[in-house]
């Protein structure tokens, strides 16, 4: 049996222990997502509805909305992000401890939406690495719950141990590029198109497999 590093960084079947630990970590992470409610405008109301008792996001373990970025896992950008606010949003994102995810809620944060103007960021993906886009103006709370579930499915396929052992990935250096890039994410520069489809997402295993094949 090799070192812990060896068994965890080789792929799926060979690293039995690694997959078990990964699974445990992912299970814990995905079921205790604490949202950072960045409610910037009208979408914030739907976000509150989602957290409230009627739609009850507590069923998915994500009801503990914290207003301190230090205690959050997933940032929900709910509303129109202006360039003046962008610095604050990025600072909040930087202050969130790793691992962290971002949901762009509504067309405003996904693409700028109808505000094709000098004041509005045309898609928060130009300043933050977005994991899930939710279309709608505003999206119903159900759509946002769907986004949380999609995010959970995405988290399931992550490989946290690898990151622990291999040190910083491009996520940690995300501040250096215009498009901060999460390890599992393909950056799509769609200015107007929004999608909530996970076909574009790659997990670590499929990336490794693609490398082997090529």
């Amino acid at each position: 049996m090799g070192s812990l590093k060896e068994i965890t960084t080789t792929d799926d079947e060979s690293g039995f222990m690694a997959t078990q630990v990964n699974e445990l970590m992912n299970w814990g992470r995905k079921n205790s997502l604490w949202p950072m409610p960045l409610g910037l405008s009208c979408c914030g109301i739907e976000l509150m509805a989602m957290i409230g008792p009627k739609f009850d996001i507590a069923r998915f373990g994500a009801e503990a909305a914290r207003f301190s970025p230090r205690q959050c896992d997933v940032m929900i950008v709910a509303g129109t992000l202006t360039w003046k606010m962008a610095e604050a949003a990025r600072t909040i994102y930087d202050q969130m401890p790793d691992p962290k995810w971002v949901i762009a809620m509504g067309v405003c944060s996904s693409s700028g939406g109808m505000y094709d103007s000098y004041a509005v960021v045309q898609g928060v993906d130009s300043i933050l690495p977005v994991d899930i886009y939710v279309p709608g103006c505003p999206p119903r709370p159900d759509a946002l719950i769907d986004a949380i579930m999609k995010l959970q499915r995405k988290i399931e396929r992550e490989n946290p141990l690898k990151r622990v052992l291999e040190g910083p990935t491009d996520l940690d250096e995300s501040g250096t590029g215009i498009f901060a890039k999460a390890p599992n994410m393909e950056v799509k520069t769609n200015r107007y198109g929004t999608y909530m489809d996970d076909s574009g997402m790659k997990d670590d295993h499929s990336t490794a497999r693609a490398k082997e094949e090529s």
């Binding site: 360039w83 003046k84 962008a86 103007s117 004041a119 250096t176």
Partner: protein
């Protein structure tokens, strides 16, 4: 006697009544007379509230800008609108915040959006756009998608990354 009749009765040749809109009497006034007229409105005619200070960009017509001010008198149940044409691309007008302190924000917004200076305003900073923005968005020549809208953010981002790199470098020295 209404306020506009009173003002017209003063016999100034640079103040004239213009077309009335929305039932609000409107006076056109030359910039050099504006200050005097404002003092009369406040002191003699009982206009307690400045409802609106804004501007219109008439370019390419000259004079390019027109300052629009609206006032309300509660005691006389009266409203009055002033229109003041301003010459030039970077015009200035006299501020009215010593008479109506509530107009301070509106004048700041007017400066921010149109680039109209208000003489006598103590704190004429931008209200909505970032201080270093450098453009006045409601001017006609300003494109609606903006001129480098992300410039200030990118500058901030660069300085943030530099600071982070510096910090890392220092830590490296210490350890």
């Amino acid at each position: 006697m209404t306020a506009s009749e009173h003002v017209l009765g003063l016999g100034w040749d640079d103040v004239s009544a213009v077309e009335e809109r929305d039932g609000m009497p409107t006076l056109q006034v030359a910039p050099q007379r504006l200050r005097e007229l404002l003092e009369i409105l406040k002191r003699d005619l009982g206009f307690e509230i400045a409802i609106l200070v804004t501007a219109v960009d008439h370019s390419p017509k000259a004079p390019r800008f027109e300052l629009v001010q609206q006032f309300l008198s509660i005691q006389n149940n009266e409203r009055l609108r002033l229109r003041c044409p301003l010459e030039g691309d970077n015009p200035s007008a006299s501020s009215c915040i010593d008479l109506w302190p509530g107009a301070a924000y509106m004048e700041r917004e007017c400066w921010d959006m149109f680039g109209i200076q208000f003489d006598g305003h103590k704190n004429l900073r931008r209200l909505l756009m970032p201080e270093a923005y450098g453009h006045h968005p409601l001017r006609k020549e300003f494109p609606h998608q903006g001129i480098e809208p992300d410039r200030l953010y990118r500058e901030w981002e660069r300085s943030r990354i530099e600071r982070a790199a510096e910090r890392e470098g220092q830590e490296g020295v210490n350890s």
